[in-house]
Each structure stands twice: as C-alpha cells, then as structure tokens.
Symmetry: C2
Subunit: 339 residues, 2 copies
C-alpha cells in the first residue's frame, strides 16, 4: 500500500490536479436535476426525511416516502401534495419497518410497482434514531437496538437497492445520512456513534464497488437536527452530554435538506452542510476525496488545532462529574444489580 | 460546539501545550507493567491474540485466553506454559463463543473465579474475522455475520467488562484491536469495515465515559496480519481487492503484539504500529488526541497528499475491472437470481 501512495511525485501531481480541478470546476457541467426523477426517501414522515421529500417535490421529482407510523405518513403525504408542481408527479407513501431486511426489500419493490417496476433513480436514506445513555447502563438488547436504528435501518435499504440496480442493469444514487458522530464520539453515544461510524465505512466501501455499476454514493455528516427525533433523544441524554452540547444550536431540517440535495448535485461523496461539518470532515478525511483542496487545507488546519482542544475541554467537563455520576449510579441501584 | 473550539486563543494554547507535552515526555513516568497483572486476551488461541498472550506471559503477567476452538486453545495454552516466567503465574484458557453477549459475560466471570473473583486488570480484545466479498453478493445474514465477527465480538466483552469494573469499583484498561479498515475502506470490505469503523466510534465514546471510572481505553489500527485468519480471508477476497493489496506485506503477529503492548504502556488512545498506520491515523485524527504534535503534522501532510492519490489509483483499478466483473456476475448466475 505504501508504494501506492506515490510520494516521490506526489507534490507535482497535487499541483497539477489542483489546477485541473480549478479549471474543471469553472466549466459548466450538467448537474443532477431531481425533476422527473424517481426519488425514494426513508424516514420521510418527519424531520430531515420529510424536509428532503418536500424539497424534492418542489423541484418536480416523483417522491415515495417510507416510514413506520401510518398516521404521520398520511400527514406527510398531505404536505407533499400541497407542494406538488404538476399533476404528473407520482407522490406515494408506504409503511414498512426498515430495521428489518425483508421489509426494506419489500418497501423498494412496492415503490417500484408505481413506476412500472422501475427502481428509484435516487434513494435518500434519512431513517434513524438516537437514544443516548451511559454505557454502563446499556445491555446487549439496547446496544443491538442502537445498531438497528443507526446502521441497519440504512444498510438494509442500501443492500436491497444495490442488488435491484445491478440486477436490472441500471444505475442510481445511494444517499446516506450520517452525523458528526460518524466522525468522532463522546460520552453518551455508545449505542449511536458506532452505527454512524459503521455507515461511514459502508459508504466508503460501496463508493469503491459502485464504480463498477456506474452508480454513485453520497453521505451527509450533520450536527443536531431540530426535529421530533432530537426532542425525543434529549429526554434520555445524560446531563454531562447535554452540558457539553449546551452551546450547540440544532439546524432546521429544511436547511439541511437543501444542503443535502446541493451536495448530491455537486457530486460530493462526503456532504458537509456547514462550516463546522467541513472542519471536522477535513480533519478526518483520510483516503476520502478532497473537495476544494485549498479550502480543505484551511479547514483541516482549524480542526487540527481546535478539535483536540475541544476534546481536552470535554475531558475536563467529564472529570468534574465523577462524584455526581457515582451518586447517580447509586441512586439507580446500579451497584446492587447484576445484569 | 463551535464556541468550544476556542479558536481565538487556539494557537497560543497549542504552543504552550506542545512545550508542556515535550517537557512532560522527558520526565520519567511510571509505565504500565504487565508483571503480576491479570490480563484477559480474546482470540488468544491464534494470530495476534496468541502473540499478545505469549508476549504478556513473557513479561510475567497472569494470562487467560478465550477462543472458540478447544483444540487450538489447548495447543495455545501449551505454548504459554513454555514461556512461563514463574510458577506463580496463573495461565488459563476458556472456550466461549464471544459473538454471544451472555457467553462474553460468562467468559469474564469464569476467568475471574481463578483470581478470587477479581476482574482482569486489562482486557485485550483480539478476536475477529474478515470474509471479504462483493456487496451485491452479500445478504442480510452475511452482513450480520460480518458485524458479529468485527464489532459484537469485541463490543460484548467491552460491555460485560465495563459493567463488572464499575460495579466492583475498580479500574482497568480496555484494549480494542481494529484495522486500517476502521479508518478507511475500499471494494470488498462491505461486511468488514463497517464493524471496524463502529469499533472506532465505540472506543471514542468509551474513552470519554471511562474517565468517570478512572479507566482507560486503547485501540490499535493495523494493516494485514500474517495469521491463519489472513490466509482464510484471502480465499474469498475479490480479485480486484487482491490486486489493490498486491504491494502489501502482512505484518508478523509478534511484531504487532509488541507494538500493541508498547502503545498501552505509552498510554496512547489510538495505537499505530507502523509508519503507514501513523500516516492514516494522523490524516483522520478528528477529535482524537494527537501523539507527538510535530511528528503528527508531518504524517498528516504526507497522508493529505498521498491518500487521495492512492484513492484515485484504486478508483481507476476498479474501473478497469468493469467488463470482467459483469462477466463474473453472469457466470455466478447473479442476473437470474432473485434473493
């Protein structure tokens, strides 16, 4: 692998490719246009998923939303109908439990029936949920549930869709939605950040394989979203985690939906919706393609200095809670239980 | 979170902390010494796990190895006996299936019985396996099995051990073993790199929480290991992946075992056993603590230029296989199957 790095002429190649990219970016290229495209949105009944579905409908796409709760789905579909651009647009909703592999497959099959058995042009995987807590209070079941609601809820759809794409010898786009907790982690997210990290790994492996099928993979890394899910997760979030996040302001779903669609249009693999995401993205870029090389250097520099300092601040905040946390565990009967 | 980054006085703090760290590193500190410590090694019957168990035995630790295959365990224990330093050393082996949460708990309980119900001082999680393949040929079962053999096989032990540590109000060390495929990914590893990425996320969340329990977390990111597992995984590895890795040379388990123990002794959170791992670690550091700040800048710079170039090389290698891959899928009857 070291030989592959090609360090001996790396700098020259970097300069040449920067120039090439700069010129290429100035060239008018044909952007992905949702108009008339069949877009499939999981988690489409609320939060980010619903915002994505609305944005796509407004841009003239055929939109199918999938989620579990039928009541919320019906309300969401009514909202989509309000933003319909033409009578030709096919707008549909389906209730399926996407933490199940077979249901994820069946949902895509059902949706494709509305389009003459054609599979979606693009799949937006927005389903997911967090349930923060202390690791010592988790058990095998809650850990597995965490993995279901972060990783499998998107991975099963990706698996079904990729098979259908390749089997029908067409091409498409897989769009995952991840979190800044797919780049880094902290106290309280032991059932959430593993699955989000796993999505990053899956997306990078798929990006590589899907070159074979002329299909593309995208994944957005966003901070907290101002959604019903966020309100829900804050109910079980440890005090320490809430304190660390106290300066965060969750982003509105429609802002993120716009950034997500823009990112897909630009052809970004890792989609970073704001400056903070760009700083963290560039600081953990590894073998992921750069965006704008010069801007990424700047972001990486800021992250290089700022993020380990942030970590030090977080560590000392955690340390201050030692006594309080021990009392908390005692109150919960932790030291007496045996599970 | 942005406010936390403290960019306004970041540079001054960086300079001061670099000086502080440089001075601190020159100070003689008490290193972790395995002698007389109770070390628990999963996957201890072969490959890296066995090498770690031998290295710890040679350094005078009490060592318990856990793995599934009883025959291999017996042979491994005989090897440990050969390197015993004193008659007081407690060397034991247990057969448990660590992809099961209850068995992972029971294994630790059984091991602790040999030490008067005292839990291990350090847990080395070396169990794991890879089964590379094309994503389109995976199914839900093989994906789940991949997650079992990469993530759960270590996460369940971490869960059981952390609960036992905190409940018995003692402190300890969790040592995960990950892979460079926990930092990045490529074609062929869709059932492997997600779980390895997940371990990175879990370790980072636990490092943060375990500050509360005065315990530490470590995780090693290594390339291919010259082990029975490596021979096994190469049997199912796609041709393309083998071609991309053709310049790699797997590292001997005893070399990695030494680096792993050295890393724990130094107190590194992310343990990088060689230059390539250090380059990738520094290029994807994010909010992970730096090692030597100056050296890490150099590594990151090399990675910044080299890794995206490597990725470009990999992408074009994959692209060249498009026709061959389609023929391969046709031969396998992929286009006719419906699973």
């Amino acid at each position: 692998m070291l030989q592959y790095l090609g360090l001996e002429n790396g700098v020259i190649t970097l300069i040449l490719s920067t120039l090439f990219l700069a010129l290429w970016k100035m060239w008018p290229t044909k952007k992905w246009d949702p108009r008339g495209q069949f877009c499939y949105v999981t988690g489409g009944s609320s939060g980010l998923g619903l915002a994505v579905a609305i944005a796509l409908t407004k841009r003239g796409a055929h939109v199918t939303i999938v989620a579990r709760n039928e009541e919320r789905l019906a309300k969401a579909l009514a909202e989509l109908e309000k933003t319909r651009q033409s009578s030709n647009q096919i707008l549909r909703s389906y209730s399926f439990s996407l933490t199940d592999a077979d249901a994820s497959y069946a949902a895509l099959e059902a949706a494709s029936k509305d389009h003459g058995n054609k599979y979606p042009d693009t799949v937006f995987m927005c389903a997911g949920a967090a349930r923060p807590g202390f690791f010592v209070e988790e058990d095998a079941k809650s850990m597995q549930k965490g993995m279901d609601n972060t990783y499998w809820i998107q991975a099963y759809t990706a698996l079904a869709y990729t098979k259908q794409l390749v089997r029908s010898q067409t091409s498409g786009k897989l769009v995952f939605t991840c979190s800044l907790l797919g780049y880094m982690s902290l106290i309280g997210y032991s059932t959430y950040s593993p699955g989000k990290h796993a999505l990053r790994g899956l997306a990078e492996s798929l990006r590589s394989e899907l070159i074979l099928y002329n299909s593309s993979v995208h994944i957005m890394f966003s901070g907290n979203i101002d959604s019903p899910g966020y309100v829900e997760e804050n109910r079980t979030k440890p005090k320490i985690t809430l304190e660390i996040e106290s300066t965060d302001k969750p982003t509105a779903p429609d802002v993120l939906a716009k950034e997500l669609i823009n990112g897909v249009q630009r052809g970004d693999f890792h989609i970073a919706p704001d400056m903070l995401s760009n700083i963290i993205r560039s600081s953990t870029t590894g073998a992921t393609p750069h965006h704008n090389v010069l801007l990424d250097v700047l972001y990486a520099l800021i992250g290089w200095i700022g993020l380990p300092l942030w970590r030090r601040g977080v560590d000392s905040t955690v340390l201050k809670h030692r006594k309080e946390h021990k009392d908390y565990l005692a109150t919960r009967g932790f030291f007496k239980s045996t599970d």
